[in-house]
Every structure is written in C-alpha cells, then in structure tokens.
Subunit: 104 residues, 4 copies
Amino acid sequence: MNQYQKQVDEQMKKLGWHYWQPLSILARLFEECGEFSRLVNHLYGEKPKKTAETEQNLEEEIGDIIYTLACFANSQEIDLDKAMRKSLDKVIKRDKGRYDKEGS
Amino acid sequence: MNQYQKQVDEQMKKLGWHYWQPLSILARLFEECGEFSRLVNHLYGEKPKKTAETEQNLEEEIGDIIYTLACFANSQEIDLDKAMRKSLDKVIKRDKGRYDKEGS
Amino acid sequence: MNQYQKQVDEQMKKLGWHYWQPLSILARLFEECGEFSRLVNHLYGEKPKKTAETEQNLEEEIGDIIYTLACFANSQEIDLDKAMRKSLDKVIKRDKGRYDKEGS
Amino acid sequence: MNQYQKQVDEQMKKLGWHYWQPLSILARLFEECGEFSRLVNHLYGEKPKKTAETEQNLEEEIGDIIYTLACFANSQEIDLDKAMRKSLDKVIKRDKGRYDKEGS
C-alpha cells in the first residue's frame, strides 16, 4: 500500500496537479461510493440489471474508492498500511473483549 | 409532506410497482446522494465546473433524495411529518442543554 | 415543506446560527446517512440487532437527513416543494418513456 | 494488498464468521464513511472541533473503510491490487485524452 500511495503521489506531481482540500476529496469519495452503490444494487439488489454491467465493473468502482482514499491520505500524510493494520487488530480485540464479557 | 407520501404511494400503485426491501432502497439513497455530492463539488468545490450544470440541477438532486426517503418511509409506515418535527425539536433541546451546561 | 423550511430558518436565526458552507453541510448529510445506514443494517441486515433500537429510531434518523437537506436548501435558496414535485413528475415521465420504447 | 486480503480472510475464518451479503456490507461501508465524514467535518469544516479528536483518528476511520472494502472484495473474489492498478491507469489515460483534445 505504501508503494501505491507513492505512485499516486508521483502521478499527481507528473500531471502538475495538487490535492484538493479535505472536504472536496470527501465529496469525491461519496460520488465514487454512490457509483459503487448503484452497481451493487444492480447486481445484487432489486433494481433491474443492465446487461452491460458485470462483476468486472465492481473491481473498477472499488479501485476508484481506494484511489480517492489514497489521495486523502497523501494530502494529510496518513500511512494507509498503518491504518489497515489498526483496523485488523481492532476486530481481533473487539472479538476478544466479547469473549471476556460473554464467555465461559 | 403527508400529502407527498400519499402521492408517491398512489404513483407506485398506478405503475404496478412495489417498494424494494430496505437495504435496496438504502443503496439507492446512496446512489442519489453520490450524484448530489458530485454536483455540489462541481459547483462549490475544487473540481472544475462544467458549464451545463447549474443550481437548478441541485434542486433536482435533492428532490431525488427526498423521493427515495419517501419510498423508504412508505415501505416501513414511517410518518415523515413526525420525523421532521422531531428533528426540529431536537435541535432546540440540544441547544437548551448547551446553555444549561455552559450558561449563566 | 415550505413551512418547514421557514421553521428551520427561524430557528437558525433565533439561535444566532448561520448556515455552513455547502461542502460542510454535505459532510453532515453523509454523517446522518451513515447513522441511518447503521440502523437499517441492524434492523434489516445481517448485523446482529441491539435490542434498544427500534423502528422509532428510524423515524428520527430520516428526520435528521431531511433537516440537513432543509439547511442546505435554505442556504442556497432552493424550494424543496418544487424539488419534490420535479422528482415525482420525472418518475412518471421515465415510466412513460419506457412504455414508448418497449412496446405498445 | 493481496496479503492484507488474505489476513482479513484468515481472521474471519478463525473467528468463525462469514461474509455478509453484498447489500449489508454496502450498508456497513456507508456507516464507516459516515464516521469518517463526521471527523473530517470536525477537523476541516465549520463544525466546532472536539478536542479529543485528532488526525490519528482519521487514520483509524480510513482503515475501517478499507477493511470493509476488503471484506466485500473477499466475498466476491475481487483482487484489490488489480482494482487499484486499474484506477491509477485510468487517471493517466483520462489525462492523456484531455491533452489530445485540448492540447497543442
């Protein structure tokens, strides 16, 4: 992930772009999530499917969300590898806590 | 609002449609919110504006969000007038609470 | 709805508040939608229910979303009644278009 | 990222959990995005900051979003590395197209 963040950053510089302000990237995140949502509903919900859309497009929509998150992370100097590690650890701890409370 | 919910319901029946299951309407809500988000970012964010989009379109996107909420509300027999009243009252109470805590 | 927008506006003035900039209200909209989403998932999804949450809370979460939309609308002088009417009309037209295309 | 997806999967199996259906994971995604949104608004928007929240929490919220996306990807056998690569390539192509159209 570290490498990916660097690639996004190099690309931005090469294109002469700058990162948007946080609230603008956030708005973009919701635009991308909305497109993902539309597709998930087409494929797995009650909305009638359009034949042209496939699971392949899902890959693309998820990619766009992560790309947007990488832009946000770069603009605020957030390390996504650390972020991902934390969330993984949290699930384990939360589960342990549950057992300690509920358990034998 | 009550009247609007009825109109949405009559239209659904006239078209022979049924309300989707809650999670599908939720996905639709996020699709609509994503479109609204894209437009807000175009008009007020750092994303370059496209000339064809105006404040008029904002009206349409907000309308689509409320329409989707009305579908959800109808499917779960929620009274939107009551819902709106509650939120208005909550803001007043929250503000009062703040004064009671902070104030003289 | 017109009346509701006025009440929101009067309340804002009484509290001495001003409307946030569009991108901030948008961020708030997603915060409210996220809370609604959590609750819908609790009640209708696979996430284990917490007993304290009921359909009543749904009413509250939807109310908060509409309140936020009313703030956005007021800040940009958008008429929600017109917005809602448009979306209702659009569904009818879209449906008509479908019949015209798909067959007699 | 590949490795991260495997770790998420191993953890799920160890905990005896199964992946939710797509629409439920989507709802969870919006719950997590809503929490992220609330925090971004606190830190960079007009909402008054609460002192306890810092940039560190941003890391956590983004981590939760990516964790949720990894669950979705695992449940649908989507390769996130490929997804991320595609989005990066798309930005380059889109930019090239722009130069071809606008440029000298």
